[in-house]
Assembly symmetry: C2
Homo-oligomer: 198 residues x 2
Amino acid sequence: MARPFRQQIDEGILDRAAALFARRGFAKTSLQDVADAVGLSKAGLLHHFPSKDALHEAVLAQAEAQARGVLDEVGSMPLGAARDRRAVEVVVDVALAHPGLVALMLAPVLQADAEPVPGAGTSGAAALEAFGVDLETSDAERLVRVLGALGALAVLSLAAHHENQTTTWRAHVAATCFDALGHRRPGAALPSSDQVEA
Amino acid sequence: MARPFRQQIDEGILDRAAALFARRGFAKTSLQDVADAVGLSKAGLLHHFPSKDALHEAVLAQAEAQARGVLDEVGSMPLGAARDRRAVEVVVDVALAHPGLVALMLAPVLQADAEPVPGAGTSGAAALEAFGVDLETSDAERLVRVLGALGALAVLSLAAHHENQTTTWRAHVAATCFDALGHRRPGAALPSSDQVEA
DNA sequence: CGGAAAACCGACCGAATCGGTCGGTCGCTC
DNA sequence: GAGCGACCGACCGATTCGGTCGGTTTTCCG
């Protein structure tokens, strides 16, 4: 218990701040909002991070790091239903452990009001790429499927955390996201989605 | 073309305002945000609605009206996979036509920061109820399934509108949401999901 | 115990932003 | 050209913003 205390608290702050930034945007989230969410005063929060910009960068860095590990692992598997099943398990675990992460990555895809932070939009597109979506070629169904699964995961991770049911919901969340990807096609094969099957 | 101009513009404003309110919350959305989204000045926007509160009420009233019709139609069908398939079609059409509607209804379910507007939280719970979710009894999987499908729909409707692909994506969106509800092959039944079937 | 360091807070500041008002311009129809 | 609805730029008081400062509590360690 010597020193990891500080890091643990900081990570808790980053998780909650990420959830707020994802839902309201960086500019629209005040330090007081974050402070309330973590149970600190505004001054106490600024004791952990010297400025709002510093907090923002730390949130992005943590999200980037968390996403990088998962996406690297997922991206290295060969495409197909088996990969999607395994990938969903991995992603769901991380998403439930860090509510707001998925929403944060999804935000730049959804919001027209661009936020000029350099690495913000990257991870979202990277997430889509890791799931086999090529934004250049117009694989419409796969894009919708992956985006829908991520949307379901974003909402469910926020709702689960909001109701303290992360562990209870895990299996259901994973099943929902996997089904959203649309692999349940016993006989007929779709044109472009799951030609590689397990 | 005599007079429906005004109503048409107003409804456009309400749709975009609904999307902003849903994503950022009412208090965190400024009149300037809405004005920018609809291509008006703040004063021009206040020419259509006398105050921000009036705009809020109008948004809620429109959302309530749009949702009421759909949910009444959906809620009257008997539970089961067939109903879910039809219900998804209906809901997806409305959601794509009015981006932000689903997100607006989902907002009170997700956000801890309550907004004291009377009818705000009602429609969200009503939507869940209409899809056979009983918040009292703990039908965990059905709740996750429906919440996930609505989350996918919320994200997809926003993304589709953002990229002008509402019509192109319609079938894919409907398929994704239906699959998220988790009805497997007609013969085999899942343990706890759809014991009440048509 | 004592004392230093860290954690945290209430009160406050200048600047920015908020919702809303006002006077006026534009384009359209009698 | 008078009347009118749509719309805008500039502005107002009030609130909220990010951030600072001085002080108090808590924690750690000898």
